[in-house]
Structures are given as structure tokens and as C-alpha cells.
Amino acid sequence: MLDTPTTRSTAAPPILRIAGLHKEFAAANGTVEALRGVNITINKGEFICLLGASGCGKSTLLRIIAGFEKSTRGSVTVYGTEVDRPGPDRGMVFQDYALFPWLTVRDNISFGPRQRGVPTPTVVRETERFLNMVGLTAFADRFPHQLSGGMKQRVAIARVLANDTDILLMDEPFGALDALTRSKLQEELIEIWKTTKLTVIFVTHSVEEAVLLADQVVVMSAGPGRIDCQIKVDLPRPRDVSSPEFNALRRDVTRRLTRHVTSDRPVVATADS
């Protein structure tokens, strides 16, 4: 059941290590097992997609990494330090944005650094830098309710980037956006990821999105949630969604994903990463 790291360098320690993670929720009739025996190792700078159907526990896993929820057993460590609460090293981008409605775009982005007591000149400089990076300089003084969904999600991304995060956690961030805005933001996210060299953990239920974005797709299966397999995506970037290679890989991932949905019995996890 041990994960098999597929990384090129073994010299640098992994940024995130999840070992033997279990999560149970209390329910009306006993407990519900949400996650069973999850092991993942993620290296600095990797773009990981957690892919799975609804209810497979992928969001729960992300929330445990973020520190919003506690695991029942097992550990999550960032550079060897156990995660026990939310922290600025793991910045979260929510599907419903969770911007502070009383703050302007600029103040939303500078919220984190200000709370952490970063000197004002630095805060101002970094805020302007990330405003510019997500293309919202012209909208800096607007309030969230005056923005479109895509713009709100750009603010949410810039807010986390400006806070000097190590790991960017994204919980179906583009799920509520229309197709055009979504593909625009996917492109921008890849650009940002290349520029900042961040580690990204991206939760999605879209196979195409996972194959388009990830270095590595972690396929999860439900009931209880666990890792089915990890698939390395070696396609060159920028990726062409109409190329035969892309479609072959997408078919492959889809087959693995739907196997659990269609079969009567869940298949035991196979390690082939």
C-alpha cells in the first residue's frame, strides 16, 4: 500500500507527505468512513490533481491538508511538520470564492500579509504585483459583489499568492464558472504556476481538467474514499486538448474512474504509477 514516488529527484525532501490517513465522520447510525489508508507524497513544484466522483472524499482530503478538519488516524506533514490547523503555508481557493465582501479587491489581496504583520511597503508592493499578475489592476477598488465569477476567483487566487503560500490548495475552483471563463482561468493558472513555481493540489471531478493541468493525476474511488492509482501526465505544455495523445490519456483516466462507478463491487486499489 505504500505509494511509489515517481519523481526525478530524490535529493530534496517532499513538501507534503500524507501517510496512512483515515477519516471517519459521526453519523446518525454509527460512523461513516470517508477516507481509508490514504498515502501520497508530493514534491515541491508539482501540480497534482485529485480526481474522483462526488462523495469520494477528495474535498475532505483537501480540507484535512488545509487543516480545517482533523483526521481520525494518520498524518499530514509539510516539510516534516505535522499539520494540525490552517496556516498561511497552505493557501486555499474555494469553489464559492469566500472573498471578504466588505473589502475591496485590493484589500482582499492584502488581507493575509496585513494580518501577519508584514511591513506596509512590502504589502503594497506585493499586492500590486499580484493584482497585475491576475489582470485586475483596473478593478482594484471594486467590491466583490461588483465582479464576475471569473474575476472573483482571480482575486481569491491572488489573495493566496500574495500571502506567500507554499502549497496552493484548490477545491473545484472553476466548477461554478462558464466554459469559456474556465478555460481562460486554467490557462492563467498554468502561467501563474510556472512563474511562481508553487506546489498545487487541485481537486476536480473533470477528467479533461485533470489531464490538462496536472503533472500527476491522483484517481480516487469512493465508499470509503481511497487512492485508486496515480497517473503521471507527461504531455508537453501547453497541452492540446484535441491531440490524439491527450485523448488517449483522457480515455485511459476515464476508464479507471468509471470502473468504480459502473461495477457492483469496488475494485481494490492497484498500484501502477
Partner: protein
């Protein structure tokens, strides 16, 4: 200007129908709407004044003066020169005393109600300790506190301030608690993952997020404060709009009573407008509240 646009709009309207016409139409209709609103709002008061005047003449009562009598009293109360008695030109002093007591009690209520409400909404231990007692005291009418408040604070302005405080405290407290409890949990998570914790959370998230509800509470509280000023000034204070009304009653000077009522009504209304514009300013980020 509005006359010009009114003339211009119908002439060019049907012929061209271009954007400039549309904008003049829009500005005209705003003025028309305002005039219409003012006209509609004054129908009932004017009808009541008329009814009042007719009824006084018809019944020939001497207990209630006609509107003109009250108008003369109001002039004398404000500027003097007609009756030249103890109440002539005394509006400023009564007004000022009442305003001090109303806002004294109101700010005291806000200064205790808001912080307490923020903490009650966020700290379960505090809620478990205080909520039952506060719920028990809440149904007690403020007027029932009158004898006790006179024992606590003596005859005088302190007692009035205490009663106003009691009346304004509960709406402010309860609305603040409600506001805190209805803050989207996601915002706390967002703040936590950005590095905000503990007491920072109150200032950075809890307070601004519950501001819409707090302003509701403040407006209700201020309204109660003006309602209670009459009760508050029953406690043997010589000056104040409530005291004037009580004096008017004792002296059977109904014109004085009605004058006091009108002044309180107008002042209460203006004070609410001030709170409303403050609320609109501080809640300009909220599409629901920026009226």
C-alpha cells in the same frame, strides 16, 4: 432645469428615440417620482389635520386645541414672543437635554451591547453563562424598571439615561448576536488559512461581517431610545421633551403635549435618517443594504 426637460422630452421622444432622449426621460421621471412620493406621503397627514380641525370645531371641545393652536404653541415654544410664559423659547434647552439623555443611553447601550453581542455569538462558554439570564430579563418591560431605577440612580437624569439604555440595549445585543451567528463559516476558514487567528478574528472578520445586522440593531435601539425618553423623563427631571409632555399633562395644556409629541417625532425621524446614511456608507460593499 426639470421644467426644461419636461418640455423637451415629449417633443423629441417619439420622433427620434435616441439615447440622449432616453437619459432626459430618465432624469425627468426621477423628479416626477420624487414629487409623486412627496405628494403621496402628505395625503394622509393633511387629511388627518383637516379631520382634527373639523372635529375640534364640530364638537366644540376645549380639551384639544385646533391645529392652528398647536402651530402657535410650537412657534412660541421655539421662538417665544406670544405667550411669554415658562415654556416660551424653551425648545433649545429641552431639546438639548433630551438629546443628551437619548444619546447618552443609546451610546452606552451600543458600547456594551455590540462587544457583548460579538462575544456571545462567538464564545459558547459565555453564551451558556449569560444567555439564560438575559432571556429571563428581556420580557420585563422597561417601565417596570422605573421604581428600581429611581432607587438606584435617584431622581434625575441618570435614571432617565438608565431607562433609555435598557430599552436600546436588547435590540442592539440581540441583533449583534444574530449577525455573528449568521456569518458564513467559509469566511472564518478563509481568514484562518490566511494567518488570522484569535482576537484578530473579531476585528478583521466578526465585526465587519456582522455590521449589517448591527446597524439594524442600532436603528431599532435608537427608535426605542426616543420612545423611552418620555418614560425616562417622568422621573422628576425639570427639563427635557418628555418632561414638557408630563408638565403639559399636569397643567392640562394639550397644545404643549402635542407640541412635545411632534418635536420628538421629527427628531426621532431625523436621527434615524442620520443612522441610515451612516449605515449606507459603512455597508456600501453590500448590495442588499446600499439603498
Amino acid at each position: 432645469m426639470s421644467v426644461q426637460t419636461e418640455v423637451a422630452a415629449p417633443a423629441s421622444g417619439p420622433a427620434t428615440g435616441t439615447t440622449p432622449t432616453a437619459t432626459t426621460n430618465a432624469s425627468t421621471s426621477i423628479w416626477q417620482q420624487r414629487a409623486k412620493a412627496a405628494a403621496l406621503a402628505s395625503v394622509v397627514p393633511l387629511a388627518l389635520l383637516l379631520l382634527w380641525d373639523v372635529m375640534v370645531r364640530w364638537t366644540g371641545t376645549r380639551l384639544i386645541p385646533p391645529p392652528s393652536g398647536v402651530a402657535i404653541m410650537m412657534w412660541d415654544f421655539a421662538f417665544g414672543g406670544i405667550y411669554d410664559d415658562a415654556y416660551s423659547a424653551s425648545l433649545p434647552i429641552h431639546f438639548w437635554k433630551s438629546v443628551q439623555r437619548v444619546y447618552g443611553g443609546f451610546f452606552l447601550a451600543a458600547a456594551t451591547g455590540i462587544p457583548l453581542g460579538l462575544m456571545l455569538g462567538r464564545i459558547p462558554l459565555l453564551r451558556a453563562m449569560l444567555d439564560p439570564m438575559l432571556s429571563l430579563l428581556r420580557p420585563v418591560p422597561v417601565t417596570a424598571w422605573l421604581p428600581l431605577s429611581m432607587i438606584f440612580f435617584g431622581l434625575g437624569p441618570k435614571s432617565a439615561i438608565f431607562l433609555v439604555f435598557l430599552g436600546a440595549f436588547y435590540p442592539i445585543l440581540l441583533n449583534t448576536v444574530f449577525g455573528v451567528k449568521s456569518v458564513d463559516a467559509r469566511l472564518f476558514e478563509a481568514a484562518e488559512m490566511l494567518g488570522c487567528s484569535g482576537s484578530q478574528m473579531f476585528r478583521a472578520v466578526v465585526l465587519p461581517a456582522s455590521l449589517p445586522s448591527i446597524f439594524n440593531g442600532l436603528r431599532l435601539g435608537a427608535a426605542f431610545a426616543w420612545i423611552l425618553i418620555v418614560v425616562g423623563e417622568m422621573t422628576g427631571v425639570p427639563e427635557g421633551l418628555g418632561a414638557v409632555i408630563m408638565d403639559g399633562r399636569t397643567l392640562s395644556r394639550t397644545d404643549l403635549v402635542i407640541t412635545g409629541m411632534i418635536v420628538i417625532g421629527i427628531t426621532g425621524y431625523l436621527s434615524d435618517r442620520i443612522l441610515l446614511s451612516l449605515s449606507n456608507y459603512f455597508l456600501r460593499w453590500s448590495p442588499q443594504h446600499n439603498a
